[in-house]
Symmetry: C2
DNA sequence: ATTCTGCACTATTTCTACAAGAGTGCAAAA
DNA sequence: TTTTGCACTCTTGTAGAAATAGTGCAGAAT
């Protein structure tokens, strides 16, 4: 029932327009009054749909403000998100390069960027996260869940990676991600780097730091 | 005013005896009734000191239960803990081996083991952490603080490590530590590995996972 | 001389009940 | 097929009171 954030290319469908209208209103309200400073009734009014319809688009207030879809499950990617299906299939077959870390980086990029269908949304998202540290926790949780499925996928490709190491791997990825988010959120407004860019840089940094 | 957990070797001083009595009582109460199931008045009575004296030994209830001293500052180590002073001095001068990762492992060991002066304490600590997940958060915070000073020390030795990477490094260490704690806590009761052992193993695992 | 203790104090936390808002199920309307 | 209204549950915030955590200090005890 919940839609993917955007179908690529072409004019926006009616549903996509409504989706955008809601997110924009939610972000405006959030920037204006803070996350707890507005109710869903107000958001419904501001975006010109019924309160009930909001939940037709977003499972929660947080999702509306963050403009996120469901957290992707890379093990069983949603067929409505063909780029996800494609990327995971490629990875399963030995990834774009054949070296785990690089392939993982590529896959992470798909994952991280999935939350940012639109440049202008990304920008206000940054402002909101900056103003509402509480939401950082939510972002963390979402990535944590996604990273779990990511590592599950890795373990299919690399069976010698046992569960314990998999868990550790998740934690490392999440640590890099959290750091990337923190950096990205504090970035000056005209810095063009996306969250995925920063994540990739930090992942490389992590590799160097732990290089024997 | 607060003492180091133990002076090495020899018979226990009066202060050390009292320290132990308090910790034992605190752990017993905690295992028996849960962390929130007893008051400091009760702990005072059980360990035969006045309530006020408890705070002479531990800055908080959590510290009493965990049997921890202050979180060590590796940049300015407490002179009353000579092994810390020694280890940091050695590290500053180029560490035991001269390779950052190995020296870091050695230093981390000192840090992690510092919280476990005694085998039997470590064992009940494990049981308590298992039964009271809430305390895991406290343990995390303590290590986070300590890791901060650890990385500050590293940055003195390796000036090309900028602040951003330092922050990332802290996060990675904390991730490894959290994973180690989780593993250690779930360990069967007769498993002789200390937390520091597990931490070291996981740090090595992390290095391999991020090996290009 | 140092550590312990009682006591008076402040600061958090917990509890209760209640209100407000988040989130769901369903059937009729668009 | 999507939207909407409505009735519903569940979680979270609020306010005030009680319990408990934690502090400062001066005198007692060792």
């Amino acid at each position: 029932m919940l839609p993917c954030p955007f179908s690529p290319g072409g004019p926006l469908t009616k549903r996509e327009q409504t989706w955008l209208r809601i997110v924009r209103a939610a972000q405006a309200l959030c920037l204006d009054r803070g996350f707890d400073g507005f109710t869903l009734d107000e958001l419904a009014e501001a975006s010109d749909v019924s309160r009930r319809t909001l939940f037709n688009y977003f499972p929660s207030k947080v999702d509306a403000v963050l403009g996120g879809g469901e957290t992707p499950d890379l093990l069983h990617p949603d067929p409505r998100q063909p780029h996800l299906v494609e990327a995971t299939e490629l990875f399963r077959r030995g990834g774009p390069h054949g070296r785990l870390l690089e392939d993982l980086t590529a896959l992470s990029r798909v994952l991280v960027d999935g939350a940012h269908p639109d440049r202008s949304l990304a920008r206000s998202q940054r402002a909101i996260l900056f103003a509402t540290p509480r939401l950082l926790g939510e972002v963390h949780e979402r990535f944590l869940a996604a990273a779990g499925t990511l590592v599950a996928l890795v373990r299919e490709r690399e069976p010698e990676l046992d569960e314990g190491r998999g868990r550790l791997f998740v934690r490392l990825l999440v640590a890099v991600f959290d750091n990337a988010v923190e950096t990205w959120v504090e970035q000056p407004d005209d810095d063009p780097r996306t969250l995925a860019d920063v994540f990739e840089t930090h992942l490389e940094d992590a590799v160097h730091l732990l290089h024997p």
